[in-house]
């Protein structure tokens, strides 16, 4: 365990901002959701690394990550249901074609 904490944090920072880039540039809603998963995952890594390196006797970061994974699963399932419903209505999943709230 001689790896410095900052190495993990740099990796998760790069992952997070790759997610930001994808979220800003993508038009396909599923690709935006994939970028969102990247960002969530980077935050999870940070929780775990802080738990292990700064407070190794506690388990708070562990449980935060555990609950975050559960919530991310729920959120993704619901978002994909919404996206498929939109696909049924307008036959594609580009955000540019979504300018009405109700059909």
């Amino acid at each position: 365990m001689e790896i410095p904490m900052i190495a993990y944090l740099v990796v998760s920072t790069i992952m997070f901002f790759a997610g930001v880039y994808g979220f800003v540039t993508r038009k396909n809603m599923l690709a935006m959701l994939i970028s969102l998963e990247l960002m969530l995952n980077a935050a999870d890594i940070n929780f775990v690394v802080f738990n292990r390196y700064l407070f190794p006797e506690a388990l708070e970061g562990f449980f935060f990550t555990l609950f975050a994974i559960g919530i991310a699963a729920a959120e993704t399932a619901l978002a994909i249901a919404i996206i498929i419903n939109i696909f049924r209505h307008i036959r594609n999943v580009d955000v540019h074609n979504l300018d009405k709230m109700k059909y």
Partner: protein
């Protein structure tokens, strides 16, 4: 010797995470993006294993790699033809995204690199795998630092999510 092996494994995992997460957001085929996301999630599980949070790594593999990515692949195949390429980005959009992400990386990286973290020496406390019994007691206990209420709230959330998913996606 073990430390060198640890460092080599961490280097490999970090390389996979960095390369695949950048490829995830730059590839033009969305199915490939989902595949690269799968590699990123695997490498993240590897990092959890390396930090001795074995249970968390297993949860990551089961929920993310086993559940969410499958959901993504199914919905991608439902909503687009395989082999479709996303249209090339307009330069304005790409510049905005690049500025946002590079600026953010620089600001965050600078803050992280200059902040004095007080890392405890890991040899002073008992390291090693978190015991399953400890996790179970913390999840089901009602005392301080125990998590029965979030656990139950999450179970209600998952139930609401199931019902909501059925309600949204059903045929009318």
């Amino acid at each position: 010797m073990e430390q060198i092996a640890n460092q080599v494994i961490f280097g490999l995992l970090a390389l996979v995470i960095v390369v695949c997460s950048i490829l995830t957001v730059t590839t033009r085929r969305i199915l490939r993006a989902a595949t690269y996301l799968l590699f990123v999630l695997f490498a993240t599980a590897g990092i959890y294993f390396q930090l001795d949070f074995t249970f968390l790594g297993a949860v990551q593999l089961a929920v993310y790699a086993g559940g969410i990515v499958v959901l993504f692949v199914f919905s991608i195949l439902l909503t687009s033809h395989p082999g479709d390429k996303a249209p090339l980005l307009t330069s304005k959009r790409r510049v905005v995204g690049l500025i946002a992400s590079i600026f953010g990386t620089i600001v965050c990286g600078y803050t992280l690199l200059t902040y004095p973290f007080f890392t405890k020496p890991l040899t002073s406390v008992i390291t090693g795998e978190v015991e399953m019994k400890e996790i179970g007691h913390a999840l089901m206990g009602m005392d301080k630092f125990q998590y029965l209420l979030p656990f139950e709230a999450l179970s209600v959330l998952l139930l609401a999510c199931i019902i909501g998913g059925i309600m949204i996606a059903r045929k009318r």
